[in-house]
């Protein structure tokens, strides 16, 4: 689970305190980057989008009021919107760069479902899931958000996030198993 961002840090960052901003950045960047990477499937795009999330955060931080919604959830909302916009703009491609490069047929049977998962295999598998299931799995197990934070970020109830979590993991398990069977 990721460490919750201190509300004082947020307030100070909102007032332009650079050390507070640095702390926010250091704390949230890895999770955000990973979420965006698994969302868009492209390292460079994920890097750019992570920067953009922080730029937008900086612009909007002054107006952020920590009422009812966790800061992390708010940040992931921005990230998710950016990812959606990015994917919409890439709709012409109809696919993601990594997806074609990491089909299990190319990789061989070098992974096992519950061990040795690498990011490329995970990207391919996650992109076969429905959007909501994918978001929940990535936010929970890659970015490390709690059920409550995921629910806030996705505007869902905690119960529906739990359901999406189980269905997403089940679908992912079946997918990885079928790939493994094909390759063996």
């Amino acid at each position: 689970m990721i460490e919750a961002v201190n509300s004082e840090t947020i307030t100070r960052a909102g007032k332009g305190d650079t050390s507070a901003l640095s702390r926010l950045y250091e704390q949230c960047r890895p999770g955000l980057f990973r979420f965006l990477f698994y969302r868009v499937g492209d390292l460079h795009a994920a890097e750019d989008l992570t920067s953009e999330v922080f730029l937008r955060m900086l612009r909007a931080l002054e107006r952020y009021r920590p009422q009812g919604i966790a800061f992390e959830a708010w940040l992931y909302q921005i990230a998710r919107n950016l990812a959606i916009d990015y994917q919409r703009s890439l709709r012409n491609r109809n696919h993601l760069p990594l997806e074609e490069a990491v089909l299990p047929g190319d990789e061989g049977a070098e992974y096992v479902v519950d061990r040795h998962l690498n990011s490329q295999v995970l990207v391919s598998a996650l992109h076969k899931l429905g959007e909501e299931q994918r978001d929940v799995v990535v936010l929970r197990f890659v970015s490390g958000l709690s059920i409550t934070q995921v629910a806030q970020a996705l505007h869902k109830t905690e119960d529906s996030v739990k359901a999406l979590q189980r269905r997403g993991l089940s679908a992912l398990r079946e997918l990885l198993k079928s790939w493994e069977d094909e390759d063996v």
Partner: protein, 639 residues
């Protein structure tokens, strides 16, 4: 929520709290043992090696309190001299190596990647065969096999295959089709030059945008050629040689040798043998029972259309058969079928067109009234007035059309490059020249724009204020929503628009406003909307709409930050204009990338930079502006 969902979460929480996985798994009730694999998978995902931002990216991030590692200390002058000598020798050797390496790399780069000359075959279904350029030895293909220039591909009934090119573009060859890959080359910057000859059947293409790169993507048929630079389109060749080109996204130029047309998203054209392409028209698709088939009019699902000599028919189709009709809606509203096929299952009807009016729940799209009802109609994107859309609909008992889905086919604004296009500075016209009023009113259309007027009346604000937002590319639906939320929450409307600009969706903004997360700030962050002058019908020159304030001594302004701002100074030097001029555009809300682009376009086109900024403020995208400033030569018919 099911018991399983809760149970899984409880066990996952235990692992998150540091309990060993084996212990947690041992506690699982026997009747829910299947959850063990999910818990293991979740743990596997957590423990997997996930990517991290690259170092270069980390270095770009400003203002961090890192303790830099201290440089190693050297003890004694002798050791320093020894190290200097050693470093000199190593440096020289490294330099020689670097030169050799760069030469090899340049040669390698020039040769282009090996794999760019091959298209990977995926999604092979049914009978798919391949043959060489001058061979009739057709052999079955397998998944991940590759196709090279000169090779041919043929699909049988109920078959299909997708070609994946080096740049990520894809071409799907449908059943009963044959194509020859005539040319396939690529470079390291993931650009391809691809030419395909389609002998028969149908192909569907998803082409990665080529941007400024020197790419080529051509699909030839006996009737005409499609040329694209990043789009989604399809080509269907009928037995009589007529071809139908349809565009889902982007633009496609269709050239038959007798004439050319440019198709935009949602449009289609047909090209008969030895003829110019027909005028672009919006598409329709009907799937259902053939209810009537007279000489004058055919009807499917209570929607009528014409069948002409050029319509492709699979022989006699008895009434009552389930058919798939694809065709075009002509300018007079009539529908002409290009192709009818007998199919086994009916499905949704759809058509494309422009949203011409929104009157409550009734939308008029391409002259057709469509009901948009909450809970029944889904939206893809944010379609608004004037947007090109694809509508999936159902005809109700009373004959009304109910929209099931409305998808915006509008392209996202092309990203503005931050790289200078032209680096040589030349004199630029001062930003005080008169601006043609037509440039400014382009974004408003009719004056007064009826919806704009309606919203102005509804919210008691000046018409110009509403149109100011509209000219900043907010749709009327968005403007309506923003003002409504502003009224509800007592928050300035500027703040609502600012949230939207920050990347939040309208649903989230609504929620934030209603949850009290958006509060009134004493000074709105964004500037006032652009207020346009009323449309001037007489050909008179009006005062410029955009006039940056240029002061002798630039005061330290919150919009500029550092004074002088380094990027501002750089651009001023690059284009040979004053620093104040650059910063005045910046303070009007233009980014440095935009300013750079505007000045470089001004240099290339000779159009005053003030006029270019006015075009941008009028709501035009940079792609449109570029296009308008660099008109393509008019093509003439080939002799």
């Amino acid at each position: 929520m099911s018991e399983k969902d809760d149970l899984l979460q409880r066990h996952l929480e235990q692992i998150e709290q540091g309990k060993p996985v084996d212990e947690v798994l041992a506690q699982l009730p026997a009747e829910h043992a299947e959850l063990a694999s999910l818990i293991k998978l979740a743990t596997g995902i957590r423990q997997a090696r996930h990517p991290l931002p690259q170092k270069a990216f980390q270095a770009r991030v400003p203002a961090r309190n890192h303790n830099h590692r201290a440089a190693p200390r050297l003890n004694g002058n002798g050791r320093v001299r020894g190290l200097l000598l050693l470093s000199g020798v190593v440096g020289a050797a490294a330099m020689v190596f670097l030169v050799i390496f760069l030469a090899a790399a340049a040669a390698f780069w020039y040769a282009g990647p090996h794999q760019a000359g091959m298209a990977k075959l995926i999604d092979v279904q049914g009978q798919v065969r391949m043959a060489g350029a001058s061979s009739d030895d057709w052999r079955p293909v397998a998944e991940t096999q590759t196709l090279r220039a000169g090779q041919r591909l043929r699909t049988g009934a109920d078959s299909g295959v997708t070609l994946v090119f080096y740049d990520g573009s894809r071409a799907t060859v449908a059943a009963n089709s044959e194509v020859t890959l005539q040319r396939l080359q690529g470079t390291w910057n993931r650009t391809i030059k691809m030419e395909m000859l389609q002998h028969s059947g149908a192909t569907f293409h998803s082409v990665v945008p080529m941007g400024k790169r020197d790419g080529l993507y051509l699909v030839h048929t006996s009737s005409g050629t499609a040329r694209v630079h990043g789009t989604v389109f399809s080509v269907t060749l009928q037995p009589d040689g007529a071809a139908r080109f349809t565009v889902e996204r982007g633009q496609v130029e269709v050239d038959s040798g007798k004439g050319q047309v440019m198709l935009s998203a949602g449009q289609a054209t047909a090209v008969l043998s030895d003829s110019a392409p027909l005028a672009p028209a919006y598409q329709f698709v009907l799937r259902g029972q053939l209810e009537r088939s007279s000489a004058e009019e055919w009807q499917v699902d209570r929607v009528s259309f014409r069948v002409t000599e050029s319509t492709s028919l699979p022989g006699d189709i008895p009434s009552g058969s389930t058919v798939l009709v694809t065709g075009r809606t002509l300018a007079d509203g009539s529908r002409v079928a290009d192709q009818l096929l007998q199919v086994t299952e009916d499905g949704e009807n759809e058509f494309t067109g422009i949203v011409e009016n929104i009157d409550g729940d009734l939308w008029t799209i391409n002259g057709q009234g469509v009901w948009v009802l909450e809970g029944e109609t889904e939206f893809e994107g944010e379609p608004g007035l004037g947007d090109t859309v694809r509508v999936k609909y159902r005809v109700l008992e009373d004959g009304r059309w109910l929209a099931l889905e409305i998808e915006s086919l509008e392209e996202e604004e092309p990203p503005v490059t931050t790289e200078p296009v032209v680096t040589e500075p030349v004199g630029t016209v001062s930003p005080t020249l008169p601006v043609s009023p037509t440039l400014v009113t382009d974004c408003t259309g009719a004056n007064p724009q009826p919806t704009g007027q309606k919203l102005a009346n509804r919210y008691g604000v000046p018409y110009e204020e509403i149109m100011g937002w509209f000219c900043q590319k907010f749709g009327f639906g968005e403007i309506d929503l923003a003002y409504e939320l502003s009224l509800q929450a007592g928050v300035p409307v500027e703040q609502i628009f600012d949230l939207r600009r920050s990347g939040l969706g309208w649903g989230e903004i609504k929620k934030m406003v209603r949850d009290g997360l958006v509060t009134t700030t004493p000074t709105p962050v964004i500037t006032e909307p652009v207020v346009t002058e009323p449309v001037v019908t007489e050909p008179v020159v009006t005062e410029p709409v955009v006039t940056p304030v240029v002061t002798e001594q630039p005061p330290v302004d919150p919009c500029t930050g550092a004074n002088p701002h380094p990027t501002g100074s750089k651009l001023a030097a690059r284009y040979g204009v004053s620093y104040n001029e650059i910063m005045s555009w910046f303070c009007q809300g233009f980014g440095f990338g935009e300013i750079d682009l505007a000045y470089s376009l001004s240099q290339q086109s000779g159009v005053p930079v003030v006029q270019i900024f006015a075009m941008r403020q009028s709501g035009m995208g940079w792609g449109e502006i570029k296009q308008q400033l660099s008109p393509k030569p008019v093509k003439t018919k080939k002799p």
